[in-house]
């Protein structure tokens, strides 16, 4: 998964999202130790202080916890993981709905098209 950053949003927020995505994707697994700030900063080619800030935000959300002297670990709390997944899913759905409304579709049409698409996929 590449560390792709865009131009508009603060970098630490984007890093936070990218790390979340890696946790969900299983690149970093529950209970596993995260690479150090320095390693992560070098990997993403960003300033170490910015990476630090992103990790602090992740700690605050409970997704990552610090064990003194041994580093940062991914939470094993399945509830937090589930919450995160659902939160990210909600974001995607809202984005999708906004786009569909821009295309001029009403609720019923959206549901019909979506059901049709899901059926075809299966």
């Amino acid at each position: 998964m590449p560390w792709t950053l865009d131009d508009s949003r603060p970098i630490y927020l984007q890093l936070e999202d990218l790390i979340k995505a890696r946790i969900i994707a299983g690149t970093y697994k529950p209970g596993e130790r995260l690479p150090s700030v320095r390693e992560l900063a070098a990997e993403a080619a960003v300033n170490p202080n910015t990476m630090q800030k992103a990790l602090t935000e992740l700690e605050r959300s409970g997704l990552v916890y610090v064990q003194r002297t041994s580093g940062r670990f991914i939470t094993e709390d399945t509830n937090i993981m589930k919450e995160l997944k659902e939160h990210l899913a909600k974001e995607q759905i809202q984005l999708f709905l906004t786009h569909m409304k821009q295309l001029g579709f009403q609720k019923e049409d959206i549901i019909r098209l979506l059901t049709q698409e899901i059926k075809e996929e299966i």
């Binding site: 950053l5 131009d7 508009s8 949003r9 603060p10 970098i11 630490y12 320095r38 900063a41 070098a42 993403a44 080619a45 960003v46 300033n47 170490p48 202080n49 910015t50 800030k53």
Partner: protein, 232 residues
């Protein structure tokens, strides 16, 4: 002491032209700072003042509480705009020079980086391309354990792959006691590596803010903001 560099009403005039006009600036430790401004805005003048190559017309400048002199040169590592090595020199000659001149120079680190970029220590500078010479010089400068690194246009002449390597070097050399001041026009290339940016124009500081604060407030990158502020 967290203040690394302090400028108080720092002014530099060349004859009747004012290059820097009463600049007040504090740079703390542990930051990577971009010094950005159009041509002729005063970037190089500021860097030369920090390195004691110019003296202020008015005002003061302190590094670790001291005015520029032999003591501050021990803790400031400077990459000038133009290379000052003689072309008859081999890379090993330069390594020897740096070992003699600077107590904080790490030969091992320099040799390691040279090897990484595929530069032969036995090669003569006269046989090198402009970009390779710039790489050699940057390697020397970054192999010191300084408090303040002043890099005047460090990435202008090198290819994108080497540019990435140089930025990686800056990131991996980072420590909380030292700061890096980088003057450049190539903002989008280094934006993600910076903590703070200083916009300088006609000898005045237009803006001194963190990259994330700019993105948060303006909703655009530093590069885009620069283009807007300094539109010709």
């Amino acid at each position: 002491m967290n203040e690394l560099l302090t400028c108080v009403d720092l002014t530099k005039q060349y004859g009747s032209k004012t290059a820097l006009d009463s600049i007040n600036l504090i740079i703390p430790r542990g930051r990577i700072i971009g010094l950005l401004g159009p041509n002729g805005s005063g970037k190089t003048t500021l860097i030369k003042l920090i390195n004691g190559l110019l003296s202020p017309t008015f005002g003061h400048l302190y590094i670790n509480g001291m005015e520029p002199g032999p003591e501050t040169k021990k803790v400031v590592s400077y990459l000038p705009e133009r290379t000052y090595f003689n072309s008859w020199m081999k890379v090993t000659d330069i390594l020897n020079f740096f070992c003699d001149f600077y107590a904080d120079f790490s030969r091992v680190r320099a040799e390691d980086m040279l090897q990484h970029l595929g530069i032969d220590p036995k090669a003569r500078l006269s046989a090198m391309s402009k970009g390779t010479k710039e790489k050699v010089q940057l390697i020397m400068v970054m192999s010191r354990d300084a408090d303040l690194y002043c890099l005047d246009e460090p990435i202008g002449g090198v290819d994108p792959a080497a540019r990435d390597y140089i930025l990686q070097t800056i990131i991996s050399n980072y420590n909380e006691h030292a700061s890096v001041l980088i003057s450049t026009h190539l903002i989008s290339d280094i934006e993600n590596v910076l903590d703070d940016v200083i916009f300088i124009q006609n000898g005045h500081i237009r803006l001194h803010a963190s990259v994330d604060a700019i993105r948060e407030q303006e909703g655009k990158s530093v590069d885009a903001l620069f283009r807007e502020v300094f539109r010709c």
